[in-house]
Amino acid sequence: MNVLRATNLTKQFGKFTALDGVDLEVNKGEVFGFIGPNGAGKSTTIRILLGILNATEGRAEIFGKDVWGDAVEIHKRVAYVPGDINLWPNLTGGEVIDFFLNLRGSGNRNRREELISRFNLDPAKKCRTYSKGNRQKVALIAAFSSDADLYILDEPTSGLDPLMESIFQECVIQAKNEGKSVLLSSHILSEVEKLCDRVGIIREGKMIETGTLKELRHLTRTNFVVETKEPIVSLNELKGVHGIQKADQAVSFQVDTEELDNVLKFITSYGIIRLESAPPTLEDLFMRHYEGTSRTLESGAGGAL
């Protein structure tokens, strides 16, 4: 069952096309990672999903309701955290959290207190004195102490220290375990890799790849470092082998997923002394898609490991 479904979202600002037919689906109980380079259209997509911008074309629904027409109804069950939040300078963090909870009409007082102590926020301070990280905490506490069914998080951990980041990750996992859905836009790929069930990659206003990490990994190559008793000859003639580099006794290269079997059979015949393999990281995927070339993959396994 999907909680969020967007089809063919297009947004034009004057002549500039910010989004060009974006499709997106988030299922119930799923954490969906939304990644892409700066200016790719992540925030524009999110603003359309929040009913803040009106799409030029296409349709988006959350909980089966239209995001523009039924924005108010939808927002009662949605919590949003932007990447860069400005708060009202002469109100305290505590006041702002309460106002957000009050406007949504639901919220859990105990949870609010618990999160304030976990995130180590002083709610009695005026917002003008907060650093970026502390402002971010205000938004996160307000979001996670609400009874939302869908969390829309746009680079929510920017400015947080590593400790707070791990608390954020706990919050996301807890929400997921409660059967809630999360749309997480982030540049911290390790975070996405850790938390997300499925990932969508957007580039220049288009979704270029969507799927589980496992599915996406099929699209790319596994990194190998091999040391053999006898030198491997004519490795470069083998199908599906890329980026061969020799270092000391070892050789490193990448192999297309569909050719793994053949290549491994081939190299074992040379007598393996040492074999290291690493799955492609999200970063490999990301770089490959973003640059539109396989430049990083060519740079050798050492870099990818």
Binding site: G51, I52, K76, L103
Partner: protein, 533 residues
């Protein structure tokens, strides 16, 4: 449809919470000034004869241009004085209050991304604008009631209940009109600075149209919202219908604002934004270039504004001249001086006022440095090989240059329009001297601003208070008969009134000395203190 306005009530209360000190301060200051003035009128003029005497001094185009038409001059009661001398001035302040409050809760919140957060919560698309309109309307209605009942409660004979309520209503209606106007500009402009700028420009235009209209062509005054407020003829004829006109226009403007708000994207304006340069011009590559570049638009707008102000005042000089010819006995005139025409005396007054208006953009330039620091932008500059004195010096040089430009344009506008409408024009040299002699006073305020920015940046807003104080004593000092020492506290009070007075080099030198002293103190402080961002 009702979804569009969801939770507007809660937002209003939230905004009220943000303004829990701001709004009371506005209301208390505005009503206090009103009540104190009313009481002082009663004290100053004890009987009909004294009041009539002052009424005679008001019967000239110069006064009319400044404070509006005197509807009750034939029976110049304390009430008539209030509506003649105080209503316009107070209405302008109320308009400023509305402009600032509306911008703060609409475009400024949107610009800083706070509106986006509100919109991500269950609130309607138009809720933020609605709540702002509710809040500012409520503030203006409250002001109307406080001043209305308050004026009546003073127990002054000529200030009856109906007139007092209308006095309050005229202020409230002006406030509501400018609230609605600002709400529209908040949709049109992409920034809060732009919103405030456009709104202030219309306010200034409303004042000038009314001034020209009141002196020459009464129909013209009806094209100014300030003309409607004065057209109520409070305490004299008590016309209520101009209030209805103002409220009617306000409702139309609010509807327009709602329409524009509903059709545009969040964060965007309706005025087009065009792509800029990809490389900095050679000129921009220095602190001075940066200081000029970031304030270029504002400086050009102010320069145009100063010229318009000069032309507007100049255009009434002709009426003043013909008025003089009609009246032979001049004894009752304010401080008549032998050998000088009323026009020349009026020019000295105009020069003082125009100089103080020129001081606004000049001071803004210095205080911009503090604004940049507040927004954490100066630290980027100082991370490069740039000394503090060089940056502050750049702002200072720009400020001094702009003070000359602003004065020149105002003087030139006044002279050009004046020569066109007068039979015997005043020579440019006389006007030039009369205007430029105010530069030392402006320099003192520049010095004060530099000193605050350098030594106690938190209080740099006080420089504005000093300018407002100067404006009050010079503009209203003669009317309200402030004691001499109050006048002396303002640098503008020490400037010789050319051509009526001789150039007084001692005073001018002392003023320049004070300006230099304050500036040096500011530079020392700025080099020593912590830069906060």
């Amino acid at each position: 449809m009702s979804q569009l306005f969801k939770n507007a009530g809660k937002l209003t209360r939230f905004q009220l919470r943000q303004d829990r000190f701001r709004i009371p301060v506005w209301l208390i200051s505005l009503s206090a000034v009103t009540f104190v003035t009313a009481i002082s009128f009663v004290d100053l003029y004890q009987n009909d004869a004294e009041r009539q005497a002052i009424a005679e001094t008001m019967r000239n185009p110069a006064m009319t241009a400044m404070v509006g038409q005197g509807y009750g001059l034939d029976n110049y009661t304390a009430g008539a004085m209030m509506s003649h001398q105080m209503l316009l001035f107070t209405a302008i302040i109320v308009a400023i209050m509305s402009i600032l409050l509306v911008t703060r809760h609409t475009r400024a919140d949107e610009e800083d991304g706070r509106t986006e957060i509100i919109r991500s919560l269950p609130s309607g698309r138009l809720s933020n604008l609605t709540s702002t309109i509710l809040l500012v309307s409520f503030t203006n209605v409250l002001l109307a009631l406080i001043i209305g009942f308050g004026n009546y409660a003073l127990g002054i004979e000529s200030m009856d209940l109906e007139g007092s309520m209308l006095y309050g209503a005229a202020l409230g209606a002006t406030g509501i009109f400018f609230m609605a106007l600002t709400a529209v500009f908040a949709q049109v402009s992409e920034s809060s600075r732009g919103t405030i700028g456009l709104s202030f420009a219309v306010l200034g235009l409303a004042y000038l149209i009314r001034a020209i209209g009141d002196v020459g062509n009464e129909t013209l005054s009806w094209f100014s919202p300030l003309g409607w407020a004065l057209g109520a003829e409070v305490y004299v004829n008590n016309y209520w219908w101009p209030m209805l006109v103002m409220l009617g226009f306000s409702i139309l403007l609010c509807l327009l604002a709602f329409y524009l708000n509903a059709m545009r994207d969040l964060g965007s304006g309706l005025l087009p934004s065009r792509p800029g340069r990809t490389h900095a011009s050679l000129f921009l590559r220095s602190p001075f270039g940066l200081a000029l570049r970031i304030q270029r638009t504002a400086i050009i707008a102010w320069a145009a504004g100063m010229f318009v102000i000069g032309v507007s005042y100049g255009s009434i000089l002709g009426d003043l001249e013909s008025f003089m010819e009609e009246i032979e006995i001049m004894e009752q005139m304010v401080n008549p001086v032998e050998g000088y025409s009323l026009t020349e005396q009026f020019i000295t007054m105009l020069m003082a006022i125009m100089s103080m208006i020129s001081t606004i953009p000049v001071m803004m330039i210095i205080l911009k440095l503090k604004g940049e620091e507040n927004k954490n932008r100066t630290e980027h500059v100082y991370s490069h090989a740039v000394s503090r004195s060089r940056v502050l010096g750049s702002y200072l040089i720009l400020s001094v240059a702009v003070s000359f430009i602003m004065q020149f344009l105002a003087i030139f506008g006044l002279w050009a329009a004046g020569s066109a409408v007068m039979d015997e024009g005043i020579s440019f040299a006389v006007m030039f001297n009369a205007g430029m002699v105010y530069l030392p006073a402006i320099f003192v305020l520049i010095g004060a601003a530099v000193c605050f920015v350098g030594v106690i940046p938190k209080l740099s807003g006080l420089t504005w208070l000093y300018l407002i104080y100067s404006f009050m004593v010079v503009y209203l000092g003669d009317l309200l008969q402030f004691p001499e020492w109050m006048n002396n506290l303002s640098p503008f009070g020490h400037i010789p009134q050319i051509p009526v007075e001789e150039v007084d080099f001692i005073h001018v030198t002392i003023l320049i000395g004070i300006a230099i002293g304050l500036t040096v103190a500011g530079f020392i402080g700025y080099n020593r203190r912590d830069i906060t961002g």
